[in-house]
Assembly symmetry: C2
């Protein structure tokens, strides 16, 4: 069993400004940060409620095309100590791998799929 | 602005036992509880990682029929003090209401939609 911590929920959005406005102005969330993602030609925003630790990530992709049914849930993210070791363990247990490990900024990321095909991000410190 | 706390992410699953097994045995989450939901003829399970507070709810519906693209994200839940007051405030701000308030067990629930149509649950204490 992989030692992991559920860290945030990533949803896909049609319009990043509009969605940030909704979650901050209507539901009182705090904007933790907003980042351009070169690799996907997109932009993300991280939010949380003032009283909570649970994070919500809004994912916008310039190249998405039409926003389709199924784009609402982007991924669920779990923190692990060692992304490569965790992926290797999950793979050996028959879990489907969606994306092999790669460095992104100061993080290392990989993706597997849950039984319904939902992308599960494994996130850990960058491997040097 | 509504005072609310992001409480959990609810995903839709094809097979509750199979998904509980995945999230507990592969990703080390703890099963907090499993509940039959009479109103939907379904069953849900709540999980969290040992080191975290973030909850994941697995939603299974007997009457779903075929599991379709778009069923992966069920809803995002926010805790509020007073569901009726929060709904009224959001409605007056032009937020689309998906389901009017109702009591369920010891809770009171209502649903609105985010800008992409994602169902947002407002949850608070039961109104007597």
């Amino acid at each position: 069993m992989v030692k992991a911590k559920f860290d945030y929920t990533g949803i896909g959005v049609r319009d990043l400004d509009h969605s940030i406005k909704f979650y901050t102005e209507k539901l009182g969330m705090q904007l933790l940060g907003r980042y351009k993602i070169k690799e996907t030609n997109g932009e993300i925003a991280d939010l949380k409620s003032p009283d909570g630790d649970q994070k919500l990530e809004l994912n916008w992709y310039a190249n998405r095309g039409e926003y389709k049914n199924g784009d609402e849930l982007d991924h669920l993210a779990f923190e692990v100590q060692d992304v490569d070791a965790a992926l290797s363990e999950l793979r050996s247990q028959g879990v489907e791998v969606a994306m092999e490990p790669f460095n992104a900024g100061n993080s290392r990321l990989a993706f597997v799929k849950d039984p319904d095909g939902i992308w599960i991000e494994l996130e850990g410190p960058k491997k040097t």
